[in-house]
Every structure is written in C-alpha cells, then in structure tokens.
Symmetry: C2
Subunit: 367 residues, 2 copies
C-alpha cells in the first residue's frame, strides 16, 4: 500500500472524499434548480470521472475540443457537447465520424462556420446539432443578445443538415470580479440575459430547446433563473485557489493539490519547491483576488511570488513557520484545469492512502 | 507529401533551416570563446535534437529534471548534467541507477542535500559528481558568491562519495531587463562573478574543474569572460518572442511557431484563434519588454491581449489587416520551452514541406 507522503513529487493528488462531496453538492444544486447538469470535463480529462458525473445525474458532458470528445466517446460517454466552433476539413471529417457513434453537438457564432458545417453535413448525408454562442460579458466567443444574434440563429437554423439546439454562454468574466459578492449578480444577469434571448427567438418563431449557461462560480445563481435549462460547470469537481478566492465554495472543498518537495532554502526569506510552471501552470485566474502562484496548505505565512518551469520560489516572511529541505507540502493551484493538463496521471487518495491512479486520457487534446 | 498549410491546428511547427542555423551559430560562438557548449535540452525535449547538438560540437547536455535525463540516456546521450538538486529516496535511487549507464552530474546549494547525496552514494558504494549552484542575481537557487558559498563547496567536496565538479549559475534575470542593452552587462557580470568565485575557491585549495554559466541571452558575453569553461543556453535552438524582444537574435531567427486557425470573428475588433494557454502557455517571460501572449507572423497590427485554455483573443485595431475565419496564422510564442512541454509532437518543415515528426519524448518529465 502506498501512502500519499511517500509519493515522488511533484504529483497531483485528489482527495476522493472531497471530490465526491463536490460532485454530489453540484448535482443537488441542479436538481433543486430543475436544470440539467452537463459538466465540463476539461477540468479532469478522465473518462472514469465523467462516468461518475453521469451516474450522479449529469445529462451528458461538455468538452472543449474535438480530441477530448473522441477520448470520452471511446470510453462510452454517449452525449457530448463540444463547446467550440468546428473549422477546417480535418475537424469536420472527425466530427461526422464521431457523430455516428455518440450524440454530438457543437457551437458556433458565425455564418461562415454554420455554412461550412452545413456543407459538410450535406456532403455526407448527415445532420449535426449546434448551439449558438452568446456573449454576455466575457468578450471571447459569441454575439451579444440582439438583432445580429437573432439573425444568425435564424440563418443557421435554416441551413440544410443543421439542427438548431439552442443558446449557450460562458460567464468566464465571473473570474474577473474585484469582490466575491459580485459573482452572484453576474450569475443572475447571465441567466436573465440568456432566458431573454431565448424568449425573443421563440417570439420570432424559432424553437429553442436548450438555454445552456455555466461556469462553477455562476452555476447555482444562473441555473436558478427561470428559462435556463442546463448548466455546464467544470472546476467544481476539484475546485482551486480561484474558486476558493471567490468564496464559493471554500478552501475545505478543494480536492486536488500538487504534492511538492522542498529542494532548497538558499536564503532565510526564500524556499524552493520542485513544482514550477510545468506542474502548476502560470495561470493567474481570478487575478484580482489572487496573489502569487498557489497556496501552500498548512503554511498560511508563505506565498509563491514567482515560478520557473521547475521551481516555485516561496517567500518566507521573518518568523513564519516553514518546512525544511526534504519535507513535502501540498500546493492548492490557481487554476486546476491547467494543472491537470500538465500531468499524465492523477492520484486518488482516501485520507493518506493511495486508492487509484487515473491516466489523464484527454490530456493535451488541443485539436 | 503534407504541406504545412494543411496541418490540423493548433500545432507547433519547426523551420528546420532556421533551427540548423541557430544551432551552428551558437556552436561557433562557443568555439570562438573557447568554452564548452552544454545545451539545455529542456527547450526541445527531443533526443534527436540533442544528438544533433552533440554532432555540432556540444560537450554534453543539460536537463532540468531526472526524468528528462532518463529519456536522454535511453536515447544514447551519455554526458548529462541534471541542473537540479536531488532530494528524496526515489530520486536518489533513480539517480544512481542512471549513473551506472551515463556520465551524470547534478547540482546542489545546501549541506542538507550534499549529505543525503553522500549517504546515498556510500550506501551503494558509488560516487557522484556535483556542481554547486551560485546565485548571481536571479534570486532562485544558489548561494551568492562569498564565505557561505566557499564553506558549502569545501564541506560538500569533503563528503565521501561526492566529487566536486565546479560551480554553476543561471542568469535568468537577464529576462527581467527593461532594455535589451542591459543584457550584455548582465552576461559580463555573470562571467566575472563566477570566475571570481572559482578563483577564491582555488586559493582556498579546492580544485574547480567547471565554471558553468548560461542562458541564451547571456551565453555569448558570459562565455567570453576568461575563467568561464562552459555555457548552457537552451532557447537558442528555436528562439521565441522573449529572445527576440531582447534583440539577440532577431525575429528571423525564430524557428518554432504555433500554427493556428481563426475560428471566430465575433466583433470587428476581436478575432478568436484556436490556440490558447494549452498551446501557448500563459508564460510572460521578459514581461518588461513583451505585451500580450505572442506575435502573429505577417500581421504586425494584431496583438493577443488574453488567452483562455483553448482560445487566443486577438485585438484588431481599426483598419488593421486581419485573417478571415478558416485562415491559418503562425504565432511566435512568448516562451518556447513551455510550448514544447504542452505537445506530444513537433513538426519539422523545409519551407512549406513537412519533413519530420518528432515525439516530444521528455514532455512532462517533471519528476
């Protein structure tokens, strides 16, 4: 039997009991709100965990890229939303191949992508479901609610081989708040804008099956708005310093940490850990609320002001308790999705006991 | 035959002619300076490229972690410096196993690590070579030149099973300059501080075989200082926006780009590319000289103010030339080492023709 403390480092470790509680809590929130849960599996990239989410009531899963969808379909997941526009002949070929063995939908926010998708469907005598992405404040993909969005939905829905599945948004700007109290308002507004856009489309005669919102911070509030049908949180399975900084949920609900070893103490005010940006990523999610590159469990006085690829540089204030060379510490990362993408395996533990080693099957599937 | 423009995206592409010129130029600089070149292979993580560096005159290679050393030794590289302190029973077991099949050295900056290494060597009836790390301004690992450094060298050199191989530093702070002109001074100071520290040790009766400096920006100037014996640049094989921003070498010497597709144009001032932080990393190396997350070749008016995991958000100023949905562009990343670590393969091209696909064999070897 392997103990957590004996693992070679750096290594990502998942507390199975905390993870299970996180999964059940979100499933319960969605049941209470009467919305479908379609978790974003980019956070874990592990088919066994996607299956657990479905066992606990998820209606299907979300993935970020086609390559992730292929991995999940290989493992038997059969209802997959690819929250990405499909562009290019290779992607279209793979998409329609995949759609023969699983229920697939993708997203789009332009007539150009809709036309290519339609042409590809027609060439194959196939049909594909799509959701139109709405920008409710993130400023990434999607059109804002309004005439142009309505026209795109109507136009794309009329193209042969395309099935209009509804509207989708992602309130990623909930990570940019200056105070946790702002998150709830963003979630409510997310739900209301989306429900409103769906109403306008229906008035115009379009059927809108799905009104899909989400992100871990806004899942509960956006999902509570009447008219919203589905939420797509991802991070909630593990949580991280970003979600904890937002106050929902708290630090005790963080299931994944990066176990790391102190390899140097070259100055009284500086420790070196063996986990750098290749283990923690350089992400500064929720940068307004977070300083540094992760939190060291059990050492509230310490911080990680900078990373190299293989080093965390830890600041040790005068008088602060600090681990010695050779000791292991657990780091709560800023952004857990990026951490998972850096490792070939996650280790699941019950207390201090290693229970399971999961290959991160969808790691690196950027295409 | 596959053309570069037909590759599915996002994908890292290496211009073989530019890479070869970069390799030859650094080899020539080192020959002229009369120093050994021990390239840091963390930049490419590919044994075939390490072998090419040795063919062109490298004395051996540098790696960041033991796992990278194992991959390189498996491929026949037989003189490997692991520029990292070895801590913990698994690492020590693997280190001494590796040392039976290749010439290995590691680094340290503490008595604690030296003692553990010595004990591990003695238990196995083995010996291991080590270099002591010196901090000449980066503020990461290493002791600054001075009495404490002298005492550590003397103490560690006296321990059974340890062979003192010399001094090593890394001038990573050359990335933090506010003007490219400061880099040369940092390099000269790097060489002088290290040569001076070696002289002091010799006066005290210690033999100092190697005085090892490096980093791509300072390799030429630090390597030109008398007393320096070895340089360890890594990035020079590919270069990136960071080395280009430092002015040495320039943009035309960047060999690796990330080919990416425009997947959306949701607003007149905003394009979306399919390469996000999972393709480009979130690294802001040389942040004083760089804005944004990489440069788009052929589109000097565009910038990448932010990334999500799977999206580059491209700012399009009024009137700027911009690619259309479906078009492919090449992104010069901020920090090429981190990009390589995100991909399973690099594609080598001659002009527009795909010539070779290299597995990134040492990707993710953080342990």
């Amino acid at each position: 039997m392997t103990r957590k403390g004996e693992l070679d480092t750096p290594v990502p470790v998942v507390d199975l009991a905390v993870m299970e509680a996180n999964l059940r809590r979100m499933a319960e929130v969605c049941r209470r709100n009467g919305v479908k849960l379609r978790p974003h599996t980019k956070t874990h990239k592990i088919p066994a965990l996607a299956r657990r989410q479905v066992e606990l009531g998820a209606a299907g899963i979300t993935v970020a890229k086609l390559g992730e969808a292929e991995v999940m379909a290989d493992a038997g997941l059969d209802d997959i939303l690819i929250a990405y526009p499909m562009v290019g002949p290779q992607k279209l070929e793979r998409l329609f191949r995949l759609a023969r063995r699983a229920r697939i939908a993708c997203t789009l926010d332009s007539v150009e992508v809709a036309q290519e998708l339609s042409a590809a469907a027609c060439r194959r005598g196939a049909a594909i479901r799509f959701l139109v992405e709405v920008d409710i404040g993130l400023g990434r993909c999607g059109l804002p609610p309004g005439d142009e969005l309505m026209q795109l939905c109507a136009r794309a829905a009329s193209l042969p081989g395309l099935e209009f599945g509804g509207l989708l948004t992602h309130a990623g700007h909930s990570r940019r708040v200056r105070a946790p109290s702002e998150v709830e308002e963003i979630g409510r507004r997310e739900g209301e804008l989306m429900a409103g856009a769906a109403r306008s489309l229906r008035v115009a005669g379009l059927e809108v099956a799905e009104v899909s919102v989400g992100s871990t911070p806004t899942a509960a509030t956006a999902g509570a708005v009447p008219g919203v049908t589905e939420v797509r949180p991802g991070t909630y399975i593990f949580n991280d310093a970003s979600t904890a900084a937002l106050g929902l949920p708290g630090l005790t609900d963080v299931a994944l940490t990066v176990l790391s070893t102190v390899v140097g103490h070259p100055a009284p005010d500086r420790l070196i850990l063996d986990a750098g940006s290749k283990a923690l990523s350089s992400d500064r999610l929720s940068a307004n609320l977070l300083q540094g590159h992760g939190w060291i469990k059990g050492y509230p006085g310490l911080s990680i002001p900078s990373l190299s690829e293989e080093h965390a540089i830890v600041a040790v204030p005068p008088g602060a308790s600090a681990p010695r060379i050779g000791e292991k510490v657990e780091i709560i990362p800023n952004h857990v999705c990026s951490v998972v993408n850096l490792f070939d395996e996650l280790i699941g533990v019950e207390g201090d006991r290693v229970e399971v080693v999961w290959p991160v099957a969808a790691r690196g599937k950027v295409r």
